[in-house]
Symmetry: C2
């Protein structure tokens, strides 16, 4: 047992993990094995260990519960309404994550837990306040996609412009003009054409491009001035 002079809340991390699967934006959920909310779907997450950082805890829980390994992760916000967990006071530090399902398909979790990808516009009822955490995460994704190069976290190293445009259209729920989209995305100077083309498609093959991460990291001041 651990003793404190004052009551301490428990602290957890939870992750909203987005991925692009089958031309749909999906989120990764796990089914709860224990009360409360037993059998309900929930965001992957768990208790922060006493000697690990927040991001470290999020990465560990994701690996343990869903086998997800290689991903983009940033902190989203903390949620601490006093009654959000019926067991005890629990404050959760929510994280926002993106996995590239092309290069790193998510295998079944190592333990017995059931994990599954759900389309973001058709979620089952979620445990705790996870629906509102999810809503905040989706807002963040839609906003940040407009002025930061998040899109490339969803895509393989080599991607085509129609693929990239579809991604924007799917996440932002909008139609974009093909010519204007290309003009803007190429004007950033961060996307380079490769001498490779699609194969095995039953129509004209699209050219592959890559995102220049180094250049983005360097000239971060210039910003990713891409607004759709």
């Amino acid at each position: 047992m651990y003793e404190y002079r004052y009551p301490h809340p428990a602290v957890t991390v939870d992750c909203v993990v987005f991925g692009l699967d089958d031309d749909e934006l999906k989120v990764l959920l796990i089914r709860r094995l224990l009360e409360p909310y037993k059998d309900r779907w929930a965001l992957p997450g768990g208790f922060v260990r006493i000697d690990e950082g927040l991001e470290q805890a999020a990465l560990r829980e994701l690996r343990e519960e869903t086998g997800v390994d290689n991903l983009y992760l940033e902190q989203l916000a903390s949620y601490g309404a006093p009654q959000r967990d019926p067991r005890e006071r629990v404050i959760t530090v929510a994280h926002f994550a993106i996995v590239n399902l092309f290069d790193h398909p998510v295998k079944a979790a190592s333990d017995a837990r059931e994990a599954a990808w759900f389309p973001v516009d058709d979620l089952p009822p979620l445990a705790f306040d996870h629906q509102s955490i999810f809503d905040d995460a989706l807002d963040r994704l839609q906003n940040k996609l407009r002025y930061q190069p998040l899109a490339f976290e969803f895509l393989p190293e080599k991607f085509t412009l129609p693929q990239l445009q579809r991604l924007y259209e799917i996440i932002l729920c909008t139609d974009l003009d093909k010519r204007n989209f290309r003009k803007k995305i190429l004007a950033t100077g961060l996307i380079h054409a490769l001498e490779e083309y699609e194969m095995d498609v039953s129509h004209r093959a699209a050219r592959y491009y890559r995102f220049d991460r180094e250049r983005w990291a360097d000239g971060r001041d210039d910003g990713f001035e891409f607004r759709v």
Copy 2:
């Protein structure tokens, strides 16, 4: 004593409170009375009580430590590096705040604690990881000022356009063109001219304007499309 089956971190809130004072951007600090970092300056904050929300805790601590009452407050981020507090594991949920020092001058703290406003570009050494929390808060302020009507949180109900422009120039560390600034700020449709003018100035009196909070709250979708 309080007992738990697993170790629990302590959870605190800390606040980066900005204010405009004497044509300078300042931040509110308190001097620590206890170890660790005794006598160092620190962000106001303290432990979250077991039955209060995070924002509620932030407001309470601010009132207790600095007497600040009426302010704009939003969550900034959480900081949980395992060794950030030498006593025990402490995770802090940092908040971002703005006080209007025109209408609500900050009186001395109720308890014996010393509180003071420091110019943001001339801070004393801070306790814990508070410098890096402050840095993040300043980034947030500078960014958000460009596309959200945060400026009005610093100013009195009635303000002049030169006053507003100076605020932008001070916070963004830049010079702005007077005519273009007025054009843009008025184009938002959220700032209304009053039939009142400055008095007791030894030069042409500036007109007063007010920010239309209701209209902003309504048409939030339209956004505060103000980019400097």
